[in-house]
């Protein structure tokens, strides 16, 4: 076993007095609090952390920073958890992914050996001829998709949604970010710092002595009041600009006046045959394993580097007891590397790796050599090839330009409120990053009004120091030597050969390559493969790296749990002020727009009978209600409705439908004239918000002198209907409710049950009825008083279903159900209300044409045998062809028939026309009935 726990060290972050045991694929691993699942696996000697996406190749820890896809595991049923950064918890159950029966003996390992059969896009070229072949193969191909299994349990975690405002937001808690935050906060700015890892400090956390230095920087920041959100990853910059961050408990939406991006750089692997073998790691991983977690990931190490940075990792390894060879791409090096007897192989690179289940040796030689020296090893460290993390910066609108010195695309043209500092801006030393961070922090603070003369002076000094630092970057060759697979992309298993193949096919740009080979589209989202794919694409198309721009940066920079994005939302759920009495009365509820309304109390049939025979009561508080008030109130209504309102008398009610300028019906309702200058308008429940927008929009456009007030919530309403309703009213009020005092289509203010109310005599249900509007707070009181007064007459509460039957028996149209986005009043049988002789109203111009053309279809009533009720939405057919549709249908006990409304060809709109309705395989015969099915002359509602 090559990996084991090292003795205590000065930089370790594990609590040796708090042991934890976790289970990885039924193997128990004893580790400590402070370990991650990844470091625990290293302690337990587990080198294969998962199998790869396409070829099921063994993969091991590579980055230890949550960027690469190699250690995605399922933890307690949650798939695709990054083991390397997931802290251990007691009794944790970890399952490695994408292998069966086990990661050690994955049966799909054969895919690797047959991979020559699978050039990129091979699946586009096979199995489609003959046609049946694909149907046979598709399920098998599909079953190979995906990494972890979908969770079996739903998520019960509570997630917050937090909005923050800051003067300065710093993204990234490495040395540059901490320095920026400290400076900005010292200057007096309100500063928030986002750090995706659980501990701030960035790359310092893996360096010898770095942990102490990081802790110093962190306390300097928090001492001056920086709000540090660690374990919270910034995943996107959105319009606003808003920076969004997340952790499993909360979604952060942060609006800051200035933002400093100190997002660092991400180490990149090198491309050579079998560069994906377990045991081949980035220096970040080795630094963290050795210094922070105190695990030795290998005993014989080869370190590939092109900068002095790699020697630090080599020294750490050596100090921990490993034997180390350094391979340096540079032909000559300064004095540092030769210390400690690390005699490097100069001017050389790793040409290829050897090994099956982990690396056993590497071949080392000059770039491009046809062969090299084989060095046995069990650990390969790739050190110092990093790409600046410019993605979030790009989302702000910043551009990137290639920088020769850094051999990387660096941010340029930053928006005026955006700053960049540290490795993302090209700095490659800790001191350089801190200098840049300080500068950005001071500048950001000054820009939000926290500048000073002393600060300006320091800005000047820092500018001088903050020029790009570090030696020119040397990148390893684009590819290595020989036949083995050279992976550019570990997420999707894409090799250099495959990229070359794809370019030859014609996919000769980064965007096309990405879509064809799926490179950069895996879980790492390009973090570990953008550079390699750019370089290989450039090589294949004869372009330089500078000419091969990265693909568009889009959120999320870090994958985000849907549960965090979703938060604890619920849809609005409104209840009227009488809701509790409906509950007590045993109502079944249903949705009506965003309201909960009683569907029925007893049975719809019994409720209909009560209204027709005696008296019933329904809560109609959800109706949209508006007061239209002002000197030009009647002018507005004249323009909004096709019918006339200017001549309306005070105390009258008129039915009206609002149209748009296409002549399409938007809504219908009633309008009451209360005074010369004031009207009370009701609209359909579900259209209230839309109609408020509509009316106020025209009011704004026309600039009339009046107000439209939405009083929906201020007033409750009930409808008391049925032949005995007057008797009930007489008990509820001292006012005269006779036919003469409150005539049909009249409205009278009066006290009802002691509550000041507006009483409308309108007849949606087709009986003598009173719609009573009164202040909402009296909802229960009026309901109870009415039920009590009606008891002796056999009153019943009725719900929406009974109301629908009642209205259908009267052929009253439900706008939105019986009409749609193209219905005009002539087709819908509402032509009588259109007064084309008015000077203008919404829809007039269109109606002139529509009237002249005459409707092609008509909405008509129909009756059919009561034995069957076709579902609403059934077809009206003629000789097997669809010619119309049923919009409403109910069995009507009152008339002993099935009744409904349907759209039919206009020529059929004749009393007694027979036609066929079809649904499924059933055909029923229907007969057109143009007048209401019940009380066609309307004598009952006028009584």
């Amino acid at each position: 076993m090559s990996a084991r726990r090292l003795p205590e060290g000065p930089d370790e972050a594990i609590l040796r007095d708090r042991p934890v045991t976790i289970e990885v694929d039924s193997k128990l691993i004893h580790c400590f609090e402070g370990d991650t699942v990844g470091s625990a696996m290293a302690v337990g000697g587990i080198t294969i952390t998962g199998r790869s996406f396409k070829y099921h190749r063994p993969r091991g820890l590579q980055c230890m920073t949550g960027n690469c896809p190699n250690c995605l595991v399922t933890v307690d049923g949650i798939p695709n958890v990054r083991a390397c950064t997931e802290p251990v918890r007691g009794a944790m159950k970890v399952v490695r992914q994408n292998a069966w029966p086990s990661v050690g003996a994955d049966i799909h390992g054969w895919l690797n050996f047959w991979s020559f059969m699978m050039p990129p896009g091979f699946y586009y070229k096979v199995f489609h001829r003959p046609r049946w072949a694909w149907h046979a193969v598709e399920p098998l191909i599909r079953s190979k998709a995906g990494l972890g299994f979908a969770p079996e349990e739903e998520d019960h975690r509570t997630r917050e949604r937090i909005s923050l405002h800051a003067d300065v937001l710093v993204v990234g808690g490495g040395p540059a970010g901490l320095a920026a935050a400290t400076e900005a906060a010292s200057a007096g700015a309100n500063v928030v710092l986002l750090e995706q890892r659980r501990e701030a400090g960035g790359h310092l956390l893996g360096e010898p002595g770095g942990r102490v230095r990081a802790a110093g920087l962190v306390s300097a920041a928090t001492d001056v009041g920086v709000k540090l959100l660690s374990g919270t990853a910034a995943f996107g910059v959105f319009d606003g600009p808003i920076v969004a961050g997340w952790n499993p408990d909360a979604l952060y939406r942060i609006r800051a006046r200035h933002v400093v991006f100190a997002t660092g750089a991400i180490e990149q692997p090198a491309v050579f045959p079998d560069n994906d073998l377990p045991g081949i790691m980035l220096s970040s991983a080795v630094d963290l394993l050795v210094n922070r977690f105190r695990v030795l990931p290998g005993r014989k190490a080869v370190v590939l580097t092109a900068s002095d940075g790699g020697y630090g990792t080599a020294e750490s390894l050596q100090r921990a007891g490993a034997s180390v060879r350094v391979v340096d791409l540079r032909g000559e090096v300064g004095p540092t590397p030769t210390m400690a007897g690390l005699a490097p192989v100069l001017g050389a690179t790793i040409l290829r790796a050897h090994g099956r289940r982990r690396v056993r040796a590497v071949e080392v030689g000059p770039p491009g050599a046809s062969g090299g020296r084989k060095i046995p090893c069990d650990l390969v460290v790739l050190a110092g090839f990093a790409v600046p993390s410019t993605n979030l910066l790009s989302m702000t609108g910043a551009k990137v330009e290639f920088d020769d010195h850094a051999q990387a695309f660096l941010p340029v043209d930053l928006p005026p409120t955006v700053h960049a500092a540290g490795a993302v801006a090209g700095s490659r030393t800790t001191d350089g990053a801190i200098t840049q961070g300080r500068l950005a922090g001071l500048e950001a603070a000054a820009a939000v009004g926290h500048g000073s003369a002393a600060a300006s002076e320091r800005v000047g000094l820092l500018r001088l120091q903050a020029a790009a630092d570090g030696d020119p970057v040397v990148l390893p060759p684009e590819t290595g030597l020989g036949k083995g697979k050279q992976f550019a992309c570990l997420c999707m298993d894409v090799t250099n050969k495959e990229l070359k193949f794809a370019v030859e096919e014609g996919f000769d740009s980064m965007e096309l390559l990405k879509r064809y080979t799926t490179i950069t589209m895996g879980p790492c989202q390009g973090k570990g493969c953008m550079l390699a794919s750019q370089r290989l694409c450039g090589k294949a198309t004869g372009h330089t790296l500078a000419e091969t721009r990265p693909t568009t940066a889009r959120p999320p920079w870090t994958p985000v749990e849907l549960g965090t994005l979703a938060g604890e939302r619920r849809s609005p759920r409104k209840e009227t002020t009488m809701h509790d009495v409906h509950v007590d009365a045993g109502a079944e509820f249903m949705w009506a727009a965003d309201w909960r309304r009683p569907h029925h109390y007893s049975t719809p049939g019994r409720e209909v009978e009560a209204v027709r025979q005696r008296v019933g009561l329904i809560d109609v508080s959800t109706l949209g209600k508006f007061r239209v008030k002002g000197p030009q109130a009647s002018d507005l209504l004249e323009r909004l409705y096709p019918n006339r309102f200017g001549d309306m008398k005070i105390g009258r009610v008129r039915y009206g439908a609002m149209l748009n300028d296409e002549g399409v019906i938007l809504d219908d309702g009633t309008v009451c004239r209360l005074t010369e200058d004031e009207f009370f308008v009701t609209v359909t429940t579900g259209n209230t918000a839309a109609l408020e927008r509509w009316m106020t929009w025209w009011l704004a456009d026309w600039g009339l002198d009046l107000r439209v007030l939405n009083v929906t919530a201020a007033y409750a309403a009930v409808n008391l209907g049925g032949p005995d309703s007057r008797k009930v009213m007489e008990k509820l009020t001292d006012a005269d409710v006779s036919k003469e005092a409150v005539p049909y289509m009249g409205c009278v203010p009066m006290d009802v049950a002691g509550v000041p109310s507006l009483v409308l005599r309108i007849g949606f249900v087709g009986e003598l009825s009173y719609e009573i509007h009164f202040p909402s707070m009296y909802g229960e009181h009026v309901w109870d008083a009415t039920m009590e007064a009606g008891e002796e007459f056999g009153i019943e509460p009725f719900g929406l279903e009974a109301q629908r039957i009642l209205r259908l028996e009267k052929q009253h149209v439900l706008v939105g159900q019986d009409t749609d986005a193209e219905s005009d009043p002539y087709e819908a049988g509402l032509g009588w209300m259109v007064k084309l002789d008015k000077p203008d109203f919404l829809g007039k111009r269109a109606l002139i044409d529509l009237e002249a053309a005459g409707p092609a279809e008509r909405l008509v009533g129909w009756t059919a045998d009561p034995s069957i009720v076709p579902p609403e939405g059934s077809s009206v057919v003629h000789e097997g062809v669809w010619v119309g549709r049923v919009t409403s249908a109910r069995r009507s006990a009152t008339t002993g028939k099935t009744v409904g409304l349907a759209w039919v060809p206009a020529g059929w709109a004749q009393e007694g026309t027979h036609f066929d309705i079809q649904f499924g395989t059933v055909t029923i015969h229907a007969t057109v009935a143009l007048k209401p099915f019940y009380d066609p002359e309307g004598t009952r509602l006028r009584s």
């Binding site: 959105f238 319009d239 606003g240 808003i242 939406r253 300028d661 296409e662 408020e692 927008r693 106020t696 929009w697 704004a700 456009d701 600039g703 939405n710 000077p839 203008d840 007039k844 111009r845 269109a846 002139i848 044409d849």
Partner: protein, 89 residues
């Protein structure tokens, strides 16, 4: 929709509080020709660039106003009341 709109009444607020009313049009009155009617009802400039459009501060003062927005960046250049149309447009 996290860009900010300055309601002329309530000041800068997130766009989520507002409802979009579309680019401004010239209404075809009762005397309009068929061409003018169809043009008003259905045809829009739909410019790539600066557009004068209606917004309602739905979750605020519930007032309609006009905004000039760059449709490529969603940047709101200015906002104003309908009665200021003649003067500022």
């Amino acid at each position: 929709m996290t860009f900010v709109i300055a309601c002329p009444n309530c000041g800068p607020r997130e766009a989520l509080e507002f409802s979009f009313g579309g680019e401004t049009t010239r209404r075809a009155g009762p005397e309009a020709s068929e061409q003018e009617l169809a043009g008003y009802l259905f045809f829009r400039d739909n410019v790539m660039g600066r557009q004068i459009e209606w917004w309602l501060h739905r979750d605020g003062c519930r007032k309609w106003f006009l905004a000039e927005r760059n449709t490529m960046t969603n940047q709101i250049e200015r906002t104003f009341w309908p009665h200021e149309r003649g003067r500022t447009a």
